[in-house]
Symmetry: C2
Subunit: 338 residues, 2 copies
């Protein structure tokens, strides 16, 4: 079977991105699952090779005709921002520009159908800003270049699949952000995303908001007034939604296979679950785009950059997930579009 071509953006050159990408590419599971196409500036790649002691044969490619799914050497789409090594672990406008240019090119390649999916290493918000890049993060870039207004984030580790109804709002605002219609729409979007990943009839559990799911109104009424009616509405539309399930049980139950996914109501609810369960192996998938994008779930870690001690587990998992699910997302979208 032909291996999928997976684009990998190096992330911020001053962070741990290039290091964990090189380390991940040494993993046998990655080699067997994917043919990587690296988007990186040659200077950043050389710097990371020196740091890690990992020397790989590289072939620079400029067009789809240069691509070969059975390629053994590393395929490189070279960025041209950096001309020399950069200091490790520093905010640097050139690094922000270089990371952005690589990401933009990777998006172009996957949009043209030259790649099956992309996996991204972490970038740095401050370096983007210092470089005058008009996007605050990967998701903003993806939304802009694909024209998809509201991509959906999915956290994944083992059997845990976590979606988020709200994210970057204060905890104080969460309860008021919940409406029957909004929660029902969230459950519907979870179903669609899971179908894109190949689960035809996903069972989606809604996390509760209050301790013990509110205990019949004793510790909060959102379960009675909003969440239970939202699940009922979703079910009336044929969605296999269950809950609300007390949040201290729902993630553990998902890990045990009771559900295909959990819709968490707020940022920390789902983040605490995944990252406490396994910080390094948790990855993030951006759903709702014409293609799949996977990502490590940590930052540039400037405090350990340049020391060759970064853990590449998340990068391995991100590339493996891109290879496993990329084609399903692509073909689901093509089928839906016809």
């Amino acid at each position: 079977m032909t291996k999928p071509l997976i684009g990998i953006s190096m992330g911020d050159p001053a962070g741990i991105g290039p290091e964990i990408v090189l380390k991940a590419l040494q993993d046998d599971r990655v080699r067997n699952a994917a043919t990587p196409v690296l988007f990186a500036d040659a200077a950043a790649l050389r710097q990371a090779m020196t740091l890690t002691g990992i020397e790989m044969a590289v072939r620079t490619v400029e067009d789809s005709k240069d691509l070969n799914p059975d390629e053994k050497t590393l395929l490189l789409v070279a960025g041209d921002v950096l001309t020399e090594p950069v200091p490790w672990g520093k905010v640097d406008g050139r690094c922000g520009q270089a990371a952005f240019a690589c990401m933009r090119t990777a998006i172009e390649w996957v949009q043209r159908g030259w790649l099956t999916a992309i996996a991204t290493a972490p970038i740095n918000k401050q370096s983007l800003q210092a470089g005058g890049v008009p996007f605050i993060d990967h998701t903003a870039m993806l939304a802009h270049f694909t024209g998809v207004a509201d991509p959906m984030t999915l956290f994944m580790v083992d059997r845990l699949r976590i979606f988020f109804l709200t994210r970057h709002i204060s905890l104080r605002q969460v309860a008021d952000a919940l409406t029957v219609e909004g929660v029902e729409k969230g459950l519907r979007r979870c179903e669609l995303c899971m179908q894109q990943l190949g689960v035809a009839q996903p069972k989606v559990a809604l996390a509760a908001l209050n301790p013990h799911g509110g205990e019949d109104g004793l510790f909060g009424e959102e379960e009675m007034n909003v969440l239970t009616p939202a699940v009922a509405l979703a079910r009336s539309h044929g969605i296999n939604a269950v809950g609300p399930v007390p949040a201290d049980a729902v993630f553990s139950q998902c890990l045990q296979g009771y559900y295909d996914a959990v819709l968490s109501l707020y940022h920390d609810q789902g983040h605490i679950a995944a990252k406490t369960y396994d910080f390094h192996r948790t990855i993030s998938l951006t759903m709702g785009l014409p293609f799949l994008r996977t990502s490590v779930d940590h930052g540039t870690a400037f405090d350990v950059a340049g020391r060759n001690i970064a853990d590449a587990t998340g990068m391995v998992e991100a590339i493996l997930a891109a290879a496993e699910y990329g084609e399903r997302v692509r073909s689901f979208n093509e089928t839906s579009a016809t």
Copy 2:
């Protein structure tokens, strides 16, 4: 070395308590660490032996002079509420009364100094109520019989140690429940509890309330206005407190050994962390009492009671923790009292 005498209350006879206690007592680590003293009605014990096929030699004891730390047979302090087997998995006033009577006797024995600590199997709120028992749970019984108004709950699994600033309030009420003085007092109590467990200078991390710890006020101001000043106040009093640390990182970091304990701000914050990390091995310690009480962290599980499929891992961990820390808590309290 003499093994500590650990009291074990059977919990609700119609639930999984008697079953998991018997199973836990077969574990070599439990046999090596503790000499168990079981508080159970003989009818309930027989019923659980029949269910599990575990037959143990039993010696009924009535007084401290009957106790022998090197005892090989199971020491039983027999309750006298039940005269016959009870239906599995049903709310039953007799079961509530029997569970309560065993717990009350166990508390008496440990208060007299006859036991080092107690480990409790789960009881059922509805059965307590049906039996006219004037307490809603174990904690209420412990508070009443020890005269300690506000015992402190500590969740424990591997290196994770989690305290709770608030518990049974709605999520909507959490932000307003935080004050500089209240959080500082919480940090101080965490320190004291950890000292009772033998950590002389514990490093306690305060969990943040908002995503990313609020990102300098972008997603909530409680970090700036309440949590950061509370940590500063605690530190000015010599407490080794740190934070607020974003809640999706703090538990993972505690597992890695960065901190001795985490103070979580609300019920689900800490519960999600521990129970998603390892549902069955998470146990609960009641701190601030004259003695240590440990507990499994799940309920009576009426849906699986009587089927011999209950997981005894938590009961094993609860007994082991009682054996490991019971003497430290007792001697710390005796030293402090003099």
